[in-house]
């Protein structure tokens, strides 16, 4: 229909009779919106129509030109040459065009003014020459408009938008920002709202100018009106920089405490982001995140926990401080899940620092071991805890078994209870930790050592934890810290044990016995168990004695001292003693004290054998001796019988 009637409308555009013409112009606007190809028909009459005196037609024409320019860059270029004419029209309107029928409260025809300003904005965008032409006019409008009523403010607002969008002079831009600042102080909420919206658009380009109005913006945060406070929040977050970060965070945090729930998530993540970018000190950063977690814990993003743990892990000097603060926060309230997770992790990692005593930066806090354990158990049992939080708490309890000095009964109890938990994740963890207590107790300390600093990258923290769990179940070692030399032995032994020719009998030590063993471990070691000496060989005055030592802290280890004594008259020279044990054992021969056994019971030659017997299999020992005695070279191979049971049980 539009296509058919387009020519008719065009004819009507130039007819006499303003009533019809003004309607015809707007009909043309509608046609262009429906069928953009008709622009060509309506482009030529525009120039003539601009000379109209009738406001209605003029207004329609401006709208038509705006529509044409928005749709086609060619039209835009074409109409740039009418900029001077538009400027003239507006100038006349502002200075001398006062007529009662078109004005609203002292502003002449605000509708027309706003429309012209809008067109000027489109024409002056990215175009130096046009922008220059309108500079004076914009300044004039900005300063002369009466702003006591809404009409004047509407015109002023449009002027500000035009100044911002075109290539206006610097002074003009400053004027625009100041006008917006004045708007912010206006009592009318609507005006404050549009000011906040415009400032948000400007903050990228004219940051320093907007900064000057920061106090007013922060005032607007306290507005009860939700749309206003939302705008103020966005603008405040955009205004945070390194110099005002402390003050702004303070304001934003007090806002967080009182803001409506739908803004909480945005506010919390905004504060955390700002803290990350501009934190002056690590301690302040940790404090800020802590405060956000306590106030709005449920609304923070998922990676906040990972970020915080990484941050705390990196700030070594603040470990004691962080763990104390987290402990106090947790003791007060265990419902905020992210806070509970971070606190549980920290207590697990740095529990020893928590119990140590005083820390200069917080008030002295005397914490007893039972309190810490009780708190973690409370978290585990609470119905408010998410499964992930329970996992954190269980792992923390486990880590504390190595950090605390008391006995681990309570921890072991909890861990074994959760071995039959309905939640599969918890059950798996509990069973693995149980195994750690029982069979691999010697490795527990190494596995539960302090974590190294994780690489920045969100999920790596979780991956490090998960890989720990996986390795635990395979009973292999996590090579984090340089392990003690003893552990290296164990590793070799474990590898060899997996390929044992004779599978060691599955010896399940009685629970009582194992418990006794474990309980012994953290305490001071008693005197090594004494095993009677054994004479294994005698020939022509050369005697070989074995003495055994079983150190209690490593029950699988057996130390044998081979002593060769010569009671004959002649020396024994080139004395070499070699030993062999079954495959399931590991043997280490240390260098002998010498290779000559002097005659007449002189200084004996001693040699130390270290035998590692993790499977507690019966010990079998074969010795081979070669030496020179009485002019003969002797070679002897024999098995040691009658080894006392204490050597291998």
């Amino acid at each position: 229909m539009c296509r058919d009637l387009a020519t008719e409308v065009e004819k009507l555009l130039l007819q006499p009779g303003s009533y019809v013409r003004k309607k015809a112009v707007l009909t043309a606007v509608h046609m262009i919106r429906k069928v953009p190809e008709l622009s060509n028909i309506f482009l030529p009459p525009c120039a003539q129509l601009l000379h109209e005196r009738h406001h209605g037609i003029l207004l329609g024409t401006i709208t038509l030109i705006t529509e044409l320019c928005e749709r086609s860059p060619a039209a835009l270029k074409h109409f740039r040459k009418v900029v001077p004419q538009l400027v003239q029209i507006l100038r006349t309107l502002v200075t001398t065009g006062y007529s009662t029928e078109h004005s609203i409260s002292g502003v002449s025809d605000p509708f027309l003014q706003v429309q012209i300003l809008r067109l000027l904005r489109i024409l002056g965008r990215n175009h130096e020459e046009s922008s220059e032409t309108m500079n004076d006019l914009l300044a004039q409008v900005a300063t002369n408009t009466d702003t006591s009523r809404n009409a004047g403010n509407a015109v002023l607002f449009e002027t500000v938008l035009t100044i911002m969008d075109t290539r206006s002079a610097a002074g003009l831009r400053v004027l625009a920002v100041n006008i917006l600042g004045r708007f912010l102080l206006n009592n009318d909420k609507n005006i404050r709202y549009v000011a906040l919206t415009s400032l948000l658009r400007m903050v990228q380009s004219d940051h320093s100018a907007v900064q000057r109005h920061r106090p007013t913006v922060v005032e607007c945060l306290r507005e009860p009106d939700a749309s206003l406070s939302r705008r103020a929040l966005e603008l405040s977050l955009a205004l945070v920089n390194s110099s005002n970060v402390r003050a702004m965070t303070q304001e934003l945090q007090s806002f967080l405490e009182s803001c409506p729930p739908d803004l909480r998530a945005d506010c919390a993540s905004g504060i955390l982001l700002a803290a990350e970018r501009f934190a002056p000190t690590k301690r302040w950063h940790i404090d800020t995140i802590l405060r956000v977690l306590t106030t709005a814990g449920t609304h923070v993003r998922d990676d906040a926990v990972a970020n915080l743990t990484q941050l705390i892990g990196g700030a070594q000097e603040l470990h004691a401080y962080s763990v104390r603060r987290l402990y106090s926060a947790l003791a007060e309230d265990i419902s905020q899940q992210p806070l509970v997770q971070v606190a549980a992790w920290c207590i697990g990692e740095y529990g020893d620092l928590l119990l140590e005593g005083s820390c200069e930066e917080t008030e002295p806090l005397q914490v007893k071991e039972e309190e810490v354990l009780a708190l973690l158990e409370k978290v585990l049992q609470s119905h408010m805890s998410l499964p992930a939080t329970r996992g954190y708490a269980l792992t923390a309890l486990m880590k504390l078994s190595t950090r605390l000095r008391g006995d681990n009964n309570r921890i072991r109890q909890v861990v074994s209870i959760y071995g039959s938990c309905v939640d599969v994740e918890l059950q798996q963890r509990a069973v693995e930790y149980n195994t750690l207590f029982r069979k691999y107790d010697h490795m527990r300390a190494a596995i539960l050592e302090k974590m190294p600093l994780v690489e920045r990258g969100g999920t790596q923290d979780e991956e490090a934890k998960e890989s720990k769990e996986a390795q635990l179940s395979e009973a292999a070692l996590v090579s984090t810290e340089p392990p003690a030399s003893k552990l290296l032995d164990l590793l070799d032994l474990l590898d060899s044990s997996s390929g044992a020719a004779q599978p060691p009998p599955p010896l399940e030590p009685s629970p009582g016995g194992t418990l006794g063993h474990l309980l012994d471990l953290p305490c001071a070691s008693p005197a090594p168990a004494s095993v009677p000496n054994l004479r294994v060989f005698e020939r022509e005055g050369l005697q070989l004695n074995l003495s055994f030592v079983r150190p209690p802290e490593t029950p699988a280890l057996l130390l044998i001292t081979v002593t060769a004594v010569n009671t004959s008259g002649a020396d024994v020279t080139h004395f070499v003693c070699q030993a062999a044990v079954p495959k399931s054992f590991q043997l280490q021969l240390q260098a002998p004290s010498g290779d000559t056994v002097p005659a007449q019971g002189g200084l004996p030659v001693t040699q130390l054998l270290r035998i590692f017997n993790p499977n507690k299999a019966p010990l079998r020992l074969k010795l081979r001796l070669t030496y020179h005695h009485l002019g003969q070279s002797v070679q002897e191979i024999f098995e040691v019988n009658n080894l006392p049971a204490e050597t291998w049980q």
Binding site: Y19, K22, K23, L26, T27, V29, H30, R33, H55, G56, L59, G60, T63, E101, H102, I104, D109, P110, F111, L112, V114, R118, N150, A151, N153, A154, F157, E158, L161, K189, N190, I191, R192, Y193, V194, P224, D225, A226, S227, L228
Partner: protein, 157 residues
């Protein structure tokens, strides 16, 4: 402007003018949503509300809410002026307008709106001209209603 709605405090729609073409079902749905949202707002809140990708500018006059939906780049403050100008026109025409006037003379309300706005844009900025046009239309209507004899019609008497 995309559309204008007038509704009472109880949520009854008194006037609707759509400047975009939508199906009836969509119009009903939009109307319901907007009426609900605006009525839920407290009295001290600002007159602008973001809804989908439009801005809703609304003002309450006595028992009627006047709602306009404008696009992102339009000036909200001048839209408030548009609403106010429309109310002034109604007031001048009906003489101290109230909701009842609009209920019983809704076609006149639509005529006045059509004289003031076309295609969502202001077509006449002079109050006088708009009211003059309405008066002329009224006169024509009255003339049409008065019975004329056949002779008068052809101009012989």
């Amino acid at each position: 402007m995309q559309f204008m709605l007038l509704f009472s405090r109880q949520g009854k729609l008194r006037l609707q003018k759509w400047y975009v073409s939508l199906s009836d079902r969509e119009k009903k749905k939009i109307t319901r949503e907007i009426v609900q949202t605006i009525l839920a707002r407290k009295p001290k809140m600002c007159s602008f509300h973001e809804w989908r990708d439009l801005k809703i500018v609304y003002k309450r006059y006595a028992s009627l809410y006047f709602c306009c939906a404008i696009e992102d780049q339009e000036n909200e403050l001048i839209t408030l002026e548009v609403i106010h100008r429309y109310v002034e026109l109604l007031d001048k025409y009906f003489g101290s307008v109230c909701e009842l006037d609009i209920i019983f003379n809704f076609e006149k309300a639509y005529f006045i709106l059509d004289e003031f706005l076309l295609e969502g844009e202001v077509q006449e900025t002079s109050k006088k001209n708009v009211l003059k046009a309405i008066e002329q239309a009224d006169l024509l209507q009255e003339e049409a209603e008065t019975p004329r004899s056949v002779l008068e019609e052809i101009g012989l008497t």
